[in-house]
Symmetry: D2
Amino acid sequence: LNPDYIRSFLFESKMMPSIWIVIRIDGCHFHRFSDIHEFNKPNDKQALDLMNLCAVAVLEEFQDIIFSYGVSDEYSFVLKKDSQLYQRRASEIVSVILSFFSSMYVMKWKDVFPKKELKYPPSFDGRAVCYPSAEILRDYLAWRQVDCHINNQYNTCFWSIVKSGKSKSEAQSYLKGTQAREKNELLLKEFGIDYNTLPPMFRQGSSVFRVKTETSIRENGASVRKAQTEIITEYCNIIEQSFWESHPSILD
Amino acid sequence: LNPDYIRSFLFESKMMPSIWIVIRIDGCHFHRFSDIHEFNKPNDKQALDLMNLCAVAVLEEFQDIIFSYGVSDEYSFVLKKDSQLYQRRASEIVSVILSFFSSMYVMKWKDVFPKKELKYPPSFDGRAVCYPSAEILRDYLAWRQVDCHINNQYNTCFWSIVKSGKSKSEAQSYLKGTQAREKNELLLKEFGIDYNTLPPMFRQGSSVFRVKTETSIRENGASVRKAQTEIITEYCNIIEQSFWESHPSILD
Amino acid sequence: LNPDYIRSFLFESKMMPSIWIVIRIDGCHFHRFSDIHEFNKPNDKQALDLMNLCAVAVLEEFQDIIFSYGVSDEYSFVLKKDSQLYQRRASEIVSVILSFFSSMYVMKWKDVFPKKELKYPPSFDGRAVCYPSAEILRDYLAWRQVDCHINNQYNTCFWSIVKSGKSKSEAQSYLKGTQAREKNELLLKEFGIDYNTLPPMFRQGSSVFRVKTETSIRENGASVRKAQTEIITEYCNIIEQSFWESHPSILD
Amino acid sequence: LNPDYIRSFLFESKMMPSIWIVIRIDGCHFHRFSDIHEFNKPNDKQALDLMNLCAVAVLEEFQDIIFSYGVSDEYSFVLKKDSQLYQRRASEIVSVILSFFSSMYVMKWKDVFPKKELKYPPSFDGRAVCYPSAEILRDYLAWRQVDCHINNQYNTCFWSIVKSGKSKSEAQSYLKGTQAREKNELLLKEFGIDYNTLPPMFRQGSSVFRVKTETSIRENGASVRKAQTEIITEYCNIIEQSFWESHPSILD
Ligand SMILES: Nc1nc2c(ncn2[C@H]2C[C@H](O)[C@@H](COP(=O)(O)OP(=O)(O)OP(=O)(O)O)O2)c(=O)[nH]1
Ligand SMILES: Nc1nc2c(ncn2[C@H]2C[C@H](O)[C@@H](COP(=O)(O)OP(=O)(O)OP(=O)(O)O)O2)c(=O)[nH]1
Ligand SMILES: Nc1nc2c(ncn2[C@H]2C[C@H](O)[C@@H](COP(=O)(O)OP(=O)(O)OP(=O)(O)O)O2)c(=O)[nH]1
Ligand SMILES: Nc1nc2c(ncn2[C@H]2C[C@H](O)[C@@H](COP(=O)(O)OP(=O)(O)OP(=O)(O)O)O2)c(=O)[nH]1
Ligand SMILES: O=P(O)(O)OP(=O)(O)OP(=O)(O)O
Ligand SMILES: O=P(O)(O)OP(=O)(O)OP(=O)(O)O
Ligand SMILES: O=P(O)(O)OP(=O)(O)OP(=O)(O)O
Ligand SMILES: O=P(O)(O)OP(=O)(O)OP(=O)(O)O
Ligand SMILES: [Mg+2]
Ligand SMILES: [Mg+2]
Ligand SMILES: [Mg+2]
Ligand SMILES: [Mg+2]
Ligand SMILES: [Mg+2]
Ligand SMILES: [Mg+2]
Ligand SMILES: [Mg+2]
Ligand SMILES: [Mg+2]
Ligand SMILES: [Mg+2]
Ligand SMILES: [Mg+2]
Ligand SMILES: [Mg+2]
Ligand SMILES: [Mg+2]
């Protein structure tokens, strides 16, 4: 028995240095999970809160994560480009973040859903993707937010129609081929819903990230300014240039 | 914004066809986790039971896993060699099994430790390794069981010495360089412990696997034999040839 | 300037231990190369001899290659399963064999084609593929030989028809959908060619491999048997079991 | 026999999009090759000319190569960052460039060394490395040029000492631990060689790249300016900023 020989089968794939690593996790079969746990349709504020709580905990645990974005049953965690976490070994990074997130989801469940029993253990899949420039990384995040918007607009229409008494297939064929503007008009005219007044969390998804803050504290009678890092959750537009300009430290 | 371009950064590493895939998971910083949750030293039967419960659930969930072996804070899951689970994509397979295991660990905690609070979410790292022949796969498993044996023998001595009033560093220097036989003699002479009578779960680790069983049932007055598959947990020697000869169906 | 940092971008992909590595090379745009150098159609004995000469030289240079098979503008080189050549780094192995083959092809050109000028430097692409069992490796080689047979049969018919005065597109539509047997009948009836009497090199491709031989030599008046290894080129059926049974040392 | 199954063992590693790919080739055992072909020591102008001729041919053949740098028995070819050559498959790109270079080297040998016989086929190893930013790519090239300088300075001293009658080991121990300045002083004082007047090709290595030129041609009586791309070979400093500023089109 030669341990070195047995170990030699392990193929450790390290990610290229000096580029951004994104860990994306996505709930497995959350269509079923959401049904069984009777999440509100199309968006369940508590379910999203739970995802966000877990994301905040992930950022607290892993200092190298500079930004994260969540929507529906997925979350993307961005590591700083010179991160040396687990020597940049893909399977280690993905697995540890994912495992922590999963455990946390189960632990926090009862805090968010005090009256709902967790019927079976949720699981998520995970993967690592690298992006070599800040532009492409921002394109990645923009892509997720565009996805959020398109899905949310569609789902809001779909469930409004269904709740009004139509069948699911009627709702589907009604919406087929409609443009963004038509969907907004439908919501306004038929259901009195102004899409842009819906909760930003539903329309924009959730961004969890670090901000540098300064607080004045009293030390030996004098007022001293202290730099701190805080993790905040926002529901904002991350496609626009302005977000990144207001938070220049995120991508350096 | 071109989704295809953004997706093209994803590098999907598929594992070679027709060889065994082993997913090994290992608790992160379980030294600390075991301390904080006051696990018995060197072995905590309940903690190991919890690991085994989760492994059984993993085998129930993932049909392609043919065998698994656990010791301490680690578990190895062996997929059948022609498994097509997630098209053999490494990060998908590792992440889904790991995520399921982690969630299950938290969910089952209170069943196993009804009086102990889970203080913080446990996490595990995961990796996939491939083995091209049944012999090398068996060598891998033997390696893990040898590890189990060596660690357990050492730890049993170590904690016996410590519990007898010596300091940890005294115990360490006392054991330095001792052979297997000397350790067994020490246990017998100093502490009246016959190593071979210690619980097999501690000495051999846990094997969770499927067995084919047959039951006779009555159908329309006649007795009919029915083939079934059962998942069992055993604490047996998997290094010896005889185990694999008694269970030929595991590796085909 | 930090050389270690710059080197860290190099990702060295080592091939799994203990499995067979096949290096397949294939001429780039040999359609054009064959035209410009006026190779006989469909098979040019000299061009194939040149490929074979280079393959023999490759086996002489790289001791770890146990078998090779060539057809048309391609060659497959099989490394023994425990080869440590370049620590099994894929790009190193592929590139060195390929580079040697290419140089040799140009050097030997004038020996094989003393009256033909080499008009431009030929190039080949190369790749490494691993096969985890002797069966699958033999299936790989069988696949190449089946390909040889099918292409050769088709091409022999095609060029016979064209040489008889038909256009290329007439030949093509004539052959469309014909079975193996029909093609052989066509050759026999129309052109008096018994397919099975065509040169084995054209029908079966070329196998270049090592055989162990023994020679008796006189040493100090006594006759001593000496084991030797010889590299031979054969045009034989490598699909059938019998070839591998007659040469058991190739795959162990 | 299932071709799809056999093909499925091929693992095609594509390089990340939108980053620079460098193919570095290096002569195998050129210590021996240079000895046997009696190259001048430490630098053989003709041998380097041959390498450069091949590099020019490579740039003529592969449009996506924007820059290349050669020294001693090695050459680095830089592909533009959005190159789609062979869909960015590493082994294909490396092997084709390398194979072409090797063939060309043998073909051009007699042009450069009309009186020297090529004794055996040279071979080169090849590899692909990716660099995610223009800065790191330039660091890579600077690293190669620094290597060129250090080796050349050392070798110039070494062979001057040896040619003056000392043994190789004497030369070696004499130079051990000497600084750059000391080496230059040694050359000047002992051998009357002003290092900075040595041929730039030896001191700086060779850069082969494309430049855009404009020529005025007469068309229908009028003078028309025509843009052209030319491949040029220079022996210049590529570490300094100024080179890249004078050739902004190379890295965009
Ligand atoms: N009712 C409800 N369902 C949600 C909510 N967030 C996510 N879901 C459900 C709706 C979707 O069916 C599902 C997410 O879509 P996916 O494409 O990830 O599909 P799913 O997880 O079912 O399959 P997968 O295993 O990811 O391929 O989760 C929510 O807030 N409320
Ligand atoms: N008291 C006690 N501790 C245990 C038991 N099983 C495992 N442990 C602890 C002892 C070891 O410190 C640790 C397992 O060793 P590892 O090499 O996996 O180290 P650890 O998990 O601390 O670090 P890692 O993140 O895996 O590098 O778990 C148990 O039954 N009782
Ligand atoms: N006339 C003639 N042509 C041959 C002979 N052996 C190979 N060839 C030519 C015929 C085929 O067009 C070509 C081999 O087919 P391939 O599929 O490798 O295509 P080709 O090399 O043109 O393209 P590629 O760069 O490999 O994708 O080489 C020969 O003995 N005589
Ligand atoms: N005499 C002479 N030798 C040269 C010239 N250019 C390169 N060489 C030789 C000197 C070195 O021994 C060798 C290049 O060093 P390498 O580190 O590449 O070593 P080598 O190719 O021997 O081994 P390798 O297969 O690359 O590990 O080539 C030259 O212009 N003149
Ligand atoms: O699973 P989807 O549909 O959200 O999309 P994806 O995860 O990007 O695709 P896949 O799971 O097929 O990699
Ligand atoms: O973590 P260890 O010490 O149990 O051993 P390993 O996990 O095989 O080693 P590593 O974590 O360094 O890959
Ligand atoms: O190039 P072909 O058609 O002989 O076949 P292949 O080389 O196996 O296919 P590809 O070049 O597309 O990998
Ligand atoms: O071969 P060397 O010494 O020039 O250096 P290298 O090629 O960068 O190193 P290696 O061949 O060991 O990858
Ligand atoms: Mg998915
Ligand atoms: Mg999902
Ligand atoms: Mg989803
Ligand atoms: Mg570990
Ligand atoms: Mg551990
Ligand atoms: Mg462990
Ligand atoms: Mg091809
Ligand atoms: Mg070809
Ligand atoms: Mg071919
Ligand atoms: Mg080298
Ligand atoms: Mg060299
Ligand atoms: Mg070199």
